[in-house]
Symmetry: C2
Subunit: 335 residues, 2 copies
């Protein structure tokens, strides 16, 4: 293994000088710098991460806690992961992947062992049991999502309540008087996943405010579940003309089943989907969407984390305004 001493010897300087050349923490004569940098390249020197962490109390690693559940939309989860790693690397941090399944103890372990400098936590629940532990961690923590009681934790997410309202308002503005929400799996609601509840609340409140008749339905991923969800939905109110779909995974099945039923989109039924922009065009009809800005949220999460590491105090809750793009799946209701 090539050590800092090897580099120092090769360059004819002290190890500390090599360290300073690398960190830039004190001024170095151009000549010395050249010599050192050349030796570094020639020897293929890479500082030993462990030694560095031990001496500096900094690992340059961020930990990301991801849900592995299949009742969530994996494609969206993947988008978050992708944007977080990419942003982390852009700031010279590596990313350690933790799973929610390991529970709170894993967070404790990673923080106390100095495996990572900070944590980013996904799939937050309204009353997330990890919050107290996270607060006690004495390492920066950023949540992607927001519990009911952030309790001083930093959070970043799409403003799902506003997103729910935005969908209702769009349909109401088009003239729809009776609409329905097709939401995530029952399991997602059951464990009180933060975004699901917030969206539902925004949807419901806006529907009341606009005096639009509205129902909401939880829907699992299988084709059968989608089908019976639609059965239930139209049985409850045959006059429904607008659908808000907060469950990207069921969109293909849902659109296909609607065609089976002879309900044309958007002539008979308007559809608004909450999903990543990139998925709007992958269907028979191009979808009116409220975008889930996964890339932006992931990047922000990393930036906020790094700001904390730089000393900024925690507690900011940043909810991004929803953006609706009308495409071909929504129009005025029939008649």
């Amino acid at each position: 293994m090539v050590t800092i001493t090897d580099v120092a010897n090769a360059a004819g300087v002290a190890p500390s000088t090599v360290s300073y050349v690398i960190s830039g923490k004190r001024s170095i004569s151009p000549e010395t710098r050249r010599l050192v940098e050349q030796s570094i390249r020639k020897l293929g020197y890479h500082p030993h991460a462990g030694a560095r962490a031990l001496a500096s109390s900094k690992t340059n690693v961020l930990a990301l806690v991801v849900p592995l559940r299949t009742d969530l939309n994996v494609a969206v989860v993947m988008q978050f992961v992708a944007s977080v790693v990419t942003a982390a690397r852009a700031h010279d941090y590596d990313l350690l992947l933790l799973t929610k399944d390991e529970g709170p103890a894993a967070l404790q372990r990673v923080a106390s062992s100095a495996i990572a400098d900070a944590l980013i936590v996904m799939d937050v629940e309204a009353d997330d049991p990890r919050v107290p532990m996270l607060l006690a961690l004495d390492r920066p923590v950023v949540l992607i999502g927001a519990p009911d009681e952030p309790a001083g934790l930093t959070c970043v997410d799409l403003d799902f309540a506003a997103a729910g309202a935005r969908c209702v308002n769009h349909l109401a503005d088009l003239g729809h008087r009776s609409i329905a929400l097709v939401g995530p799996s029952p399991a997602v609601y059951q464990r009180r996943t933060s975004y699901a509840g917030r969206f539902l609340r925004g949807f419901t409140e806006a529907a009341q405010a606009r005096r639009v008749s509205a129902t909401s339905h939880s829907c699992a991923h299988s084709y059968e579940a989608v089908s019976s969800c639609l059965d239930e939905l139209f049985a409850g109110d045959p006059g429904i003309t607008g659908l808000v779909v907060h469950n990207e995974a069921v969109l293909p099945a849902l659109l296909s089943d609607l065609r089976h039923r002879g309900r044309r989109v958007p002539e008979d039924l308007s559809v608004v989907a909450i999903c990543p922009e990139s998925m709007a065009e992958n269907h028979a009809v191009s979808l009116t969407t409220v975008a889930i800005p996964a890339a932006e949220v992931g990047e922000l999460a990393v930036e906020m984390t790094i700001r904390h590491l730089g000393g900024q105090v925690a507690g900011e809750v940043r909810l991004l305004s929803p953006q609706l793009t009308q495409r071909s799946s929504s129009a005025a209701p029939p008649n």
Copy 2:
């Protein structure tokens, strides 16, 4: 921070004794063990990962290189990632996530900085430019996938050539004489992604052997791409009665478009999909599949990696036999 010395003092023993209690590398009297373990719990001691890595030259971290491309099936990638983290944790290893985008230099960096003990690499290309670097790394490496020239690297994957043949044989056995392959995006073929080429080869060779007329078509993810792919496919041979789909992401669009065209599955057209078992039932028709055993492959990759860390020599290439499950999407051809 709680150190090993704190624990030692609390227990009234030497630091080395605490270390040995933890590692189990020498025998400890029951009494001492009890004392030490109690102090560890009371103080909430977690060994400092950096210090440990420095002293022992072991990080207990595995690095996983994932593709971030959207032309790949993200859901499948996510399944691999999930099984790899889970298996790694089961062996007491943490997982560091690297992206293919960072290129070969990142592998060098992670290996040389002793950030991880070993690497697992996904999205392998037939002539993968990372292979020489990987060989020079002097850390264990396991590929998920297989380049044309493994050159002594350890590989694990589904046997995609056999999978391609299996699909053809299934359709041929049912009596189909004219079939087509709907494959991954052009981009996937262009960068010579290992599994795509192997599958195509198996498909083509088996078709020749069975004297079945066969064409193959690359297909991007958008609805339009799927539609024009089917246009092209039926224009080339209107008599096609069997479709092999090696591109899970287009399945919903493809099935929906077939219905549009009035081609019933399986009455007019049989469909065999290569995808994770879990996706077989998420469509209007339950799909005959050749399973992509992501969970198994991920686990195996981790196990092989750990065996290498234990001293086993590299070079094993392990290709899992494909397993076909017939469901409702394939049947004898019409007439």
